[in-house]
Symmetry: C2
Subunit: 247 residues, 2 copies
DNA sequence: CGTTCTGTTGATCGAACTCAACTAGTGTGG
DNA sequence: CCACACTAGTTGAGTTCGATCAACAGAACG
């Protein structure tokens, strides 16, 4: 078995629930294989027929769609522990493209593993449903941001999101962080042009909310930035009381 | 047992999979109770602690969030057979508000039923995961629309979406349909103002893509409307091959 | 029968886009 | 090793899409 990645899928449930050894092992089995990706590599092409899902072991990836006019909408950024490509469960083909933003490692597994999990470990199956639900709520936040907040807010929300997720993975993270995204990528995530993202970053800087030094970003005023961005940190507040007993 | 609603939760799987009698019954149990709602009634208040989920039996509802500045983003419209409130599985509280747009009927059940389903009917549990995945893909389409398409496209997409979903429920539907949404509601779904929605509808009409007669809408040129709206109908193409065997 | 809700239209404003030019860093191949 | 290309970021000028503000008509409603 390979070394357990820094932030594994199983770790998602760490503080919340005690997994049985059998459950631990079943989850670990999903991370058995590893596949390394170079920065820029495309892991899943949109509409590709494929039956594989992936768990991110390390690195940063994104999922996106390309519209008819060639423009790209980034749907989410993928951090270690995230599940990639669950939509093949419904359609047997990818509805989102996935590409690597940094060198990264993913663990591929077949979608039939999900069915097996449902039969052998009902509680894990319920947990996966729960994890998908967390992702759904995050999606909801992004949707509301796109529909109803200003360009500046949306850019700020991306900054906060990346910072917070990096922190969760690397608790020793400093207060300044490497964004790891180009301004064009931020634009494609927020529905803006790269040019306008640049101006918004400048404004945030001029207002004393953030500081930038080549590539690195430092958030100077967390509260004010989060308020302006309509940002909700949903790290806490999980309630797993309904889960069936282990067996 | 109450009369099975026109479009039940179980019916979702109709053409795709043969449910065992036990599975059918387990699904029917989720629709045992019924609750009627008047037009305008709020079923779930945002952030309400609650442990109930709902299945729509009849009518049209919406889920939404209200932002700090008071603006509303409608996240999705809820049609018969849709599952409401799955986010309580993760947080034990509602992350989205839900209100009724027409008189409607929903079937409430406790979230522990989901855990029970996972244990007693693993295949159904996998199916629910799959249904959620379908919803996730739809959400993805809306996100890309908000981020990357014009006001006119987004309005057209709502029209097509409502029409198509009504058709799926009532196969005898005519080619003109009752929209059932105010222009303000369309605006809150598409991230536009009611005023601008009005102008976009007018433009669509002037271009000969739709016709309107008090409340009713008729789509005159499906192809052209769908192309302009970047609309993808995802009715078909399901692939359930990975599901575990019934038991 | 006023009041409220919904739809409609015009005039004006402003946020974000487009186009364009320029800088700095990073390869990279001749 | 240097010339060239390419990427990412920056800034300015002008344009446009959609918002805002305002006024009004008709329907719905208590």
């Amino acid at each position: 078995m390979p070394a357990v990645p820094v932030s594994s899928f199983a770790e998602r449930f760490g503080g919340h629930i005690d997994l049985t050894p059998a459950e631990e092992e079943a989850l670990a089995r999903l991370s058995q294989r590893e596949r390394a990706l170079r920065r820029g590599a495309v892991l899943v092409r949109e509409k590709d027929p494929s039956a594989d899902l992936f768990i991110v072991a390390s690195g940063l990836l994104m999922s996106y769609v390309i519209l008819d006019d060639g423009s790209r909408q980034i749907l989410r950024f993928l951090f270690p522990g995230d599940l990639i490509g669950a939509s093949v469960l419904a359609y047997g083909r990818a509805s989102e493209g996935v590409a690597s933003l940094t060198d990264s490692v993913v663990c591929p597994f077949e979608r039939s593993e999900i069915g097996r999990l449902a039969v052998e470990h009902p509680r894990l199956s319920a947990l996966i449903l729960l994890v998908q639900q967390i992702e759904h709520v995050a999606m909801t936040d992004r949707l509301a941001g796109l529909g109803r907040t200003s360009a500046k807010s949306r850019v700020a929300a991306v900054l906060l999101d990346v910072r917070n997720r990096q922190r969760r993975i690397d608790l020793a993270a400093e207060d300044s962080f490497v964004l790891g995204l180009t301004q064009e990528e931020i634009g494609d995530a927020t529905g803006l042009t790269a040019v306008h993202v640049n101006r918004m970053l400048r404004q945030l800087e001029e207002e004393g909310l953030i500081a930038r030094e080549n590539g690195r970003v430092r958030i100077l005023n967390d509260q004010r930035l989060a308020r302006g961005a309509n940002y909700v940190d949903r790290r806490d507040g999980f309630d797993l009381g309904w889960l069936p007993a282990a067996r």
